[in-house]
Symmetry: C2
Subunit: 370 residues, 2 copies
């Protein structure tokens, strides 16, 4: 059954249809086929598919080009597909309702509907956003067809409760491995317990007071956390290795080298004065992005969203692909339906108000047609 994209169709119908096509990261082929098919039916769009990512562009020769992007994948399903409506009929419930099938629905509906926008538009739908950065479909487009991502301003439809959220925090992950010496646990003093060596690091993490950083008028809250710890090989062995995985979420204003240096300094400080053998391996790194609200197009967009009664722009705390546009020199913001704190929630907790979808649809349409 084709996706319900005909103009005038309630956008929650399209949201539910998109939820009902399971599309956990790595398994986006079916949903990409449907989205591609809907876009190719539009004569006003020039469509390119790269793997399970699709780029659809108007080519009206306008002075400005806007990129509007959203990802097709979700985190694993947890008893929340197929979709349903809340009892009061005001919310769509299901995996991806928030992150970010509702945002994709708004974008896809507008891509089909807006055949004569006042600005040229590049619509981007992509795969593998919820997994390691190296698999990202948007990253694939950047590498293989950067020409498709030329533009003056970008909007990423990640959930923001239909409020503009500027920029995003960056994220780093590293594995800190502490090296001890194995021994039989009946003669522990012959060894050096690597799990015990993790104590200073966990104590420092526990005591860490995360900064709140103001950038371009928006406040970004940071975070430094152990997200994994593993050590020990048997119940009667003093372990020689223990690995703590640390995730650092850092505000725009620091670049990746600066953020890494801060983590290394933090680890070194935790072990200051102690002769503890350790190594640090970086396993993931994604830059932060500035809000970008100083661009002229962004100011127009802020006005259009303000007209829907939405709150003033605020900082985006989670890392999003806004950072990729920042790296391309394109100002970008997050703007989409759904409460980001309900993203990835299990069962019927992931739910998106239909009012958010309508608000986003109204603001984007107004901005792109007047």
């Amino acid at each position: 059954m084709p996706l319900p994209v005909a103009p005038g169709t309630p956008v929650e119908h399209l949201t539910r249809a998109l939820i009902d096509i399971p599309s956990v990261s790595g398994d986006e082929a079916a949903i990409a086929d449907e989205v591609e098919s809907a876009l190719r039916a539009c004569s006003h769009l020039d469509v390119t598919r790269l793997g399970d990512a699709i780029v659809a562009r108007t080519t009206l020769g306008k002075a400005e080009r806007v990129i509007i992007a959203g990802h097709l994948d979700t985190v694993p399903i947890k008893d929340n597909v197929p979709s349903r409506l809340s009892a009061d009929g005001t919310q769509v419930i299901g995996r991806g309702a928030v992150d970010m099938k509702a945002g994709v629905a708004v974008q896809l509906a507008l891509a089909v509907e807006l055949d004569a926008p006042t600005r040229d538009i590049t619509w981007v739908f992509y795969d593998n956003e919820e997994v390691e950065a190296s698999r990202s479909g948007l990253g694939r487009i950047v590498r293989e067809r950067p020409d498709l991502l030329i533009g003056d301003f970008a909007i990423l439809g990640e959930p923001t409760s239909a409020v503009i959220e500027g920029g995003c925090n960056g994220t780093l992950r590293c594995e800190v491995t502490l090296h001890g010496k194995a021994a039989h646990s009946a003669r522990a003093w012959k060894g050096l317990n690597a799990i015990h060596l993790a104590a200073p690091l966990l104590t420092a993490l526990s005591a860490y007071d995360a900064a709140s950083v103001e950038v371009d008028g928006l406040v970004y809250r940071e975070g430094l956390n152990a997200v994994r710890v593993a050590g020990g090989i048997a119940g009667n062995v003093i372990p020689d290795d223990c690995t703590v995985t640390i995730n650092y979420r850092f505000a725009p204003g620091s670049d990746l080298p600066q953020a890494k240096e801060r983590v290394v300094d933090f680890i070194d400080a935790a072990y200051e004065g102690a002769d503890v053998s350790r190594d640090v391996v970086w396993t993931d790194e994604s830059a932060a992005a500035r809000p970008g609200l100083d661009a002229p197009l962004a100011r127009d967009f802020v006005s259009a969203v303000g007209a829907t009664g939405a709150d003033a722009p605020r900082a985006k705390l989670g890392w999003t692909d806004v950072a990729r546009f920042g790296e391309l020199g394109i100002s970008a913001v997050n703007y989409g339906p759904g409460d980001p704190e309900l993203a990835h929630a299990s069962g019927d907790l992931e739910r998106c108000p239909i009012a958010h979808m309508l608000s986003c649809h109204t603001a984007l349409k107004a901005w792109l047609t007047t």
Copy 2:
């Protein structure tokens, strides 16, 4: 090829033959078959097999009965089977050389040779000593045929460098699970990081000053260690659970309830004044055993071993099956060839001096025949 058990055969030949039959815990059938076959060939022995455990008894109607026991299994092989001799020809190298194929070789050779001992002897060879207590072959005999373990004194051939080591430390293991609250790591302040909650416990373990306890004239060194730590489910999630597995080695003189109470008090003290949700699950418990050197038979045995030039009796630190005999009301000591600190060592590090084997053979034979 049958085991080389004929009287007069150098005991290192039998040690090497036993090493060359791989017998990692759970895989002892082949070695048990060979041992059983050698014992059944002796008309002076009454042989019973229970699973992969074998009991062989003289029934001469003597006033006293001695139990001499050893386990057939080893920890996993690490490039150290088949066996070989050291370059100088004085040591046997290979998995189990220390723990405890050399001890088994001495016992098996004597079981075959001593057809007219001055005390009745119960020889016990059993499986699954190197794994959780519930699988122990000796435990199986205790449960199914306790009549086979009636005796006045027991010697366990665990490695002691051919010195009598009295009693043994007890061992407890528990899993301490700390409960936090999951959250996306971009909004860490919405959760409670369970890995960070482990910091006070690891700090306390790191600072723990293990006691040395004197019991019946021997000094037992204790130990309290994390042997495993595990927490974290994904690189962008604040974990809600973190589990630290603690191993407590405690001196004889405390029973299991007392030792458990000490661990619980230690954990409680680590979290004193902090409202940290946690639970403690006991996963392994084995009692300590007193030295047992006050029994009359033990005094004779101490004299026989002293005549070989061995050091005076000392405390056994690792937990051994001596504790099982203690629970049956039978005084017991450890006495066997090999340096216990080389037990479980990899490659050619696990090695046993032939001189130890000869010394044990001499002392046991003297004690059992005069």
